[in-house]
């Protein structure tokens, strides 16, 4: 059989820099969507804590511990990042592997919120969007997940097929903001 080469979503596209901004690909990690069955949120949260040490976050929030994080990912949906799902989770939620379905990038640099302000119709400034906050909103026309991971760092995910568009849009915005000095 032909030998297939594993490639990341942004292979050959990243990283790029412009002014104070750096865009790089997030390290490859297992991604799993968790969709709790009706009324099972608490049970799922307990199972998550027992198996992975993290609780289920509230709306527009994320939880993380020791390299494993859980993002709120939409109505009734969460994304487990950094660990394969423990079997016990399937008792309380629909558990689906998403590892190769998303392109995940990391935008860093002082004023990174100004870069995202050019692309998303939400307020991502530190006053209202703090470390650990997450949301779903369109980046350009792509349904994105955005999480603040640091003072000047954001983690952004879109469908894998849109990786090149994501990088292009972010790079253009980075250069635009950087050019203003």
């Amino acid at each position: 059989m032909t030998e297939l080469l594993a490639k990341t979503a942004c292979d050959g596209l990243l990283s790029v820099t412009a002014g104070p901004f750096t865009l790089s690909e997030e390290p490859v990690a297992p991604l799993t969507s968790l969709m709790p069955y009706k009324g099972r949120d608490k049970a799922l949260s307990a199972a998550l804590e027992a198996a992975h040490g993290v609780k289920l976050p509230g709306v527009n929030r994320s939880t993380s511990k020791a390299g494993i994080s859980v993002l709120w990912f939409g109505r009734g949906q969460f994304l487990l990042v950094g660990a394969g799902p423990d079997g016990s989770l399937a008792e309380h939620a629909a558990v689906v592997d998403q590892s190769d379905a998303w392109a995940r990038v990391r935008l860093e640099g002082a004023g990174a919120d100004q870069v995202l302000a050019r692309l998303l119709p939400v307020d991502l400034r530190a006053a209202s969007f703090k470390r650990g906050h997450t949301l779903r909103s369109p980046l350009g026309h792509m349904m994105a997940s955005v999480t603040r991971t640091g003072v000047n760092a954001f983690s952004i995910a879109v469908f894998r097929s849109m990786a090149a568009t994501l990088v292009h849009d972010l790079k253009t915005a980075m250069e635009g903001v950087a050019a203003r000095g």
């Binding site: 939409g74 109505r75 949906q77 909103s137």
Partner: protein, 86 residues
């Protein structure tokens, strides 16, 4: 125009897809008769004033919501999840 998603909070209109009158939530019984079904499928009110519409938060949390708004003043009066709305 901004819509108050019951889950995400107030968001820009571009995140939402417009479906139409919230009448769609009142689906008649399968044997309700031709008149009721023709009404449900084809007839819509065109109110000057308060109206209830179905919107889909496709750019955000993916919830279907019912937004109450005023077509005369353009006021958005509120929103609720379609799941609990009638």
């Amino acid at each position: 125009m901004r819509l108050p998603c019951p889950i995400c909070g107030e968001r820009d209109r571009r995140e939402f897809y417009y479906r139409g009158a919230a009448l769609a939530l009142h689906r008649p019984d399968p044997d309700a008769g031709d008149e009721a079904w023709a009404d449900y499928v084809h007839l819509r009110d065109n109110p000057a004033g308060v109206t209830r519409d179905l919107w889909y938060h496709e750019g955000g949390c993916s919830a279907w919501i019912v937004v109450t708004r005023n077509t005369v003043t353009h006021e958005v009066l509120g929103a609720e999840l379609a799941e609990g709305a009638r």
